[in-house]
Structures are given as structure tokens and as C-alpha cells.
């Protein structure tokens, strides 16, 4: 699974993308976030306030309870500020 990060989420985590292999107990985006937070303090900080985290699965904006699987492209970012 490829994960992409944008804006200050990317800055706090320190990479703009990474590949991980989904573990069996990760079924939803929120599971994935909890898994990432357990890895180290950078992820923990980036995902501290989940209310200002938005995510996309395969380039579609979704909710954090969305089911995911191994060949999805997941992206995490703050609220969008286009225009």
C-alpha cells in the first residue's frame, strides 16, 4: 500500500510518501492511523488531532472509517485550501 502525505502532515512525518504492507488487523483508515502512530513520535504528533486530518483513498476523499486494502493509494492531508 502506498501512503502519501501533504502540507504540514508531510512536514511532521518527514516523508512525502512511503510503502507499507497491511497487517491483518488493519481494516480501516483509522486502524492504519493507529498503526502509524505506534511506529514513532513523528506520526504520533502528525495524527494527534484527528479532527483536522483529511484523507483520500485512491484519490477520492473519504471518511476515516473507510475500509482499505493492500493495493489502495491512501493520502493524508489537512483541510484543502484551493482557489
Amino acid at each position: 500500500m502506498q501512503i502519501k502525505y501533504f502540507s504540514w502532515v508531510k512536514e511532521q512525518i518527514g516523508v512525502d510518501a512511503e510503502n507499507i504492507t497491511l497487517k491483518d488487523n488493519i481494516e480501516t483508515i483509522i486502524d492504519l492511523i493507529n498503526h502509524l502512530k505506534s511506529k514513532n513520535e513523528k506520526y504520533n504528533r502528525a495524527f494527534k488531532d484527528i479532527s483536522i486530518i483529511r484523507c483520500a483513498v485512491n484519490m477520492e476523499v473519504t471518511n476515516l472509517d473507510e475500509k482499505i486494502n493492500d493495493n489502495d493509494e491512501i493520502a493524508f492531508f489537512p483541510p484543502m485550501t484551493g482557489g
Binding site: 502519501k4 501533504f6 502540507s7 504540514w8 483520500a56 484519490m59 476523499v61 493520502a75 492531508f77 489537512p78 483541510p79 484543502m80 485550501t81 484551493g82 482557489g83
Partner: protein, 146 residues
């Protein structure tokens, strides 16, 4: 039509590319967004980051939504990314219709939706340091009113 690009755009050229193809366009609504210097922070530059491919998909979706809701002959969104400076053009929305009401409403809708639904993030570089622009409640309200 959708264009996501680093380079600047020329409003006259972009509009005439479309109006020259259809002599039934009676009204063109346009919105141009520019980088503001700001009153206090003395902005030096603004860097727009975006999510390639998803950006195009989202703009296409928003543009199609406008075409569904209003009777438009054509419509155009150009959104820049990269490092921009005060006064620089960021975004162009142009809507083309037989009559003005459709064009003006669709233009307002498009820029309102772009604000919260287009995957761009703005980093302001100013005297205060580098600060990511936060989502505004007024922009969420503006998007929700449609």
C-alpha cells in the same frame, strides 16, 4: 476544460479561445484570484502544493457539477501551483453561457467549491515565518450553501 499548471495564464487568450468557437455566448463570468500582500504580515511569497492527478480529477468533477446545475456553453478552470509572489494570479474560473445569470451563478459556485474541495495547500512565507493557510469557516459555509 481544466488546467493545472505552474506557469501564468493570460485572461484574454483563455477567454477568446472559447468565445471564438461559439458565437452564441452572450455572457462570460470570470473570477481571478491573486496572491495578496496582506495588511500586517508582509507576505514575501506563497507556495501552493497540490496532489497531482487527484487535483485534475477533483477539478473535473467540480466543473462537471457546474455544467449539470447551470445551462453553460463551456467552462474553464485554471489553477496554478508552485511558488507565487504578491500580485501573481493563482486561479482563473470562466463560465460561458447564452445569458448572464447562468454564467455568473456557475462562476460563483465554482470558486466557492474550489476553496474547500480542490486538493491544494498554501504555505505563506512572511515576516512571521512559514505558515500553512488554515481552512476558513466562511469558506465551508460558502461551499455548503450550494
Amino acid at each position: 476544460m481544466i488546467k493545472v499548471q505552474k506557469q501564468d495564464f493570460d485572461v484574454t487568450t483563455e477567454i477568446k479561445n472559447i468565445t471564438s468557437l461559439n458565437k452564441n455566448i452572450g455572457g462570460t463570468g470570470v473570477f481571478i484570484g491573486n496572491v495578496r500582500e496582506g495588511n500586517n504580515s508582509n507576505l514575501q511569497s506563497m507556495t501552493l502544493e497540490h496532489y497531482p492527478i487527484m487535483t485534475e480529477k477533483q477539478l473535473e468533477k467540480i466543473n462537471n457539477e457546474a455544467k449539470t446545475r447551470w445551462n453553460l456553453i463551456d467552462s474553464l478552470i485554471i489553477h496554478r501551483y508552485g511558488k507565487l509572489y504578491p500580485g501573481d494570479q493563482i486561479v482563473l474560473v470562466a463560465t460561458f453561457s447564452e445569458h448572464r445569470t447562468n454564467a455568473l451563478k456557475a462562476c460563483e459556485f465554482l470558486i466557492d467549491w474550489l476553496k474547500t474541495k480542490a486538493p491544494f495547500w498554501k504555505l505563506e512565507e512572511s515576516d512571521k515565518g512559514n505558515i500553512w493557510v488554515e481552512e476558513k469557516t466562511s469558506d465551508i459555509d460558502a461551499a455548503n450553501k450550494w
